[in-house]
């Protein structure tokens, strides 16, 4: 038979332990993040070096996110056409540093304010096309985009009156459709 008087302090003790272990855990995950950011920065520097791109890697503090910032005279080469090189670097870097991890930690590779500017231009495009969809009363289908870019557009039009957005198509060919609400759906290709 369990004794209540015996149990109460034990519970209390457990709680204290929990707080301490939580603190230790938080501390450890901060240390882990730092180690991961350092490792990722080293791998990215190696890749840039092999590719003969004259640029440095800086670890940027950005809330919970680990962002590696590529800076230097040839940072543009690391971005590439439509950010393709930057995305490929980011993808491979995440595969490499998260290789054996139980918990995946996403690392972002950026160059200056490239990703911010890119997102703004996507939001502008989305708004322009949404207006066009409303004016014409027709569904507008955008170019195929990455999952990340599609998400930026879905979010930017979430509160836009008069249209809804959907994705259609598979894999690399997945595209966003901007559909005017209150009008019969007519696909425009």
């Amino acid at each position: 038979m369990a004794d209540d008087r015996d149990q109460a302090p034990r519970e209390g003790a457990l709680l204290v332990d929990d707080d301490e272990s939580r603190e230790r855990k938080a501390k450890r995950s901060r240390d882990d993040d730092e180690a991961l950011a350092d490792e990722a920065a080293n791998v990215l520097e190696d890749l840039l070096d092999i590719m003969d791109i004259d640029a440095d890697v800086h670890i940027r503090e950005d809330g919970d996110r680990i962002v590696l910032d590529v800076r230097g005279p040839e940072a543009g080469r690391a971005i590439g056409k439509k950010g393709q090189t930057l995305d490929a670097l980011q993808f491979l870097l995440n595969r490499i540093v998260n290789r054996d991890a139980d918990e995946q930690r996403h690392i972002i590779v950026d160059s200056g304010d490239y990703r911010e500017r890119h997102d703004k231009s996507l939001a502008n495009l989305a708004e322009r096309e949404a207006k066009r969809a409303i004016q014409s009363g027709r569904t507008i289908t955008l170019q195929p985009m990455s999952a990340r870019d599609r998400r930026v557009i879905h979010l930017s039009l979430a509160k836009f009156e008069g249209v809804t957005t959907e994705s259609s198509g598979e894999g690399m060919r997945r595209r966003i459709q901007i559909i005017p609400t209150g009008a019969p759906r007519r696909s425009r290709r």
Partner: protein, 80 residues
């Protein structure tokens, strides 16, 4: 002459696989392209190809960003 394409393939493959010693790149010169035949331990194939081939595609994107001093394209062939 240093071969950056080969170096890049070897670096990325070794960083991804369990058996880094099994990573080999065989270079085949053609007229207008250089073919890099990558072989890894069969158990590591998925790691260099990735889901829907995304890892291989990212590596190919980096290869095309290298620029070629001799005007040749670098082609990555993963041997299975």
């Amino acid at each position: 002459m240093e071969d950056r394409a080969r170096e890049l393939i070897e670096y990325v493959a070794r960083a991804l696989v369990d058996d880094a010693d099994a990573v080999e790149v065989n270079v085949v010169e053609a007229d207008r392209a250089t073919m890099y035949e990558l072989s890894v331990d069969p158990r590591d194939l998925g790691k260099v190809i990735g889901r829907d081939g995304r890892t291989a595609r990212a590596l190919r994107t980096l290869l095309s960003a290298l620029g070629s001093p001799n005007g040749k394209r670098a082609i990555l062939d993963i041997l299975d």
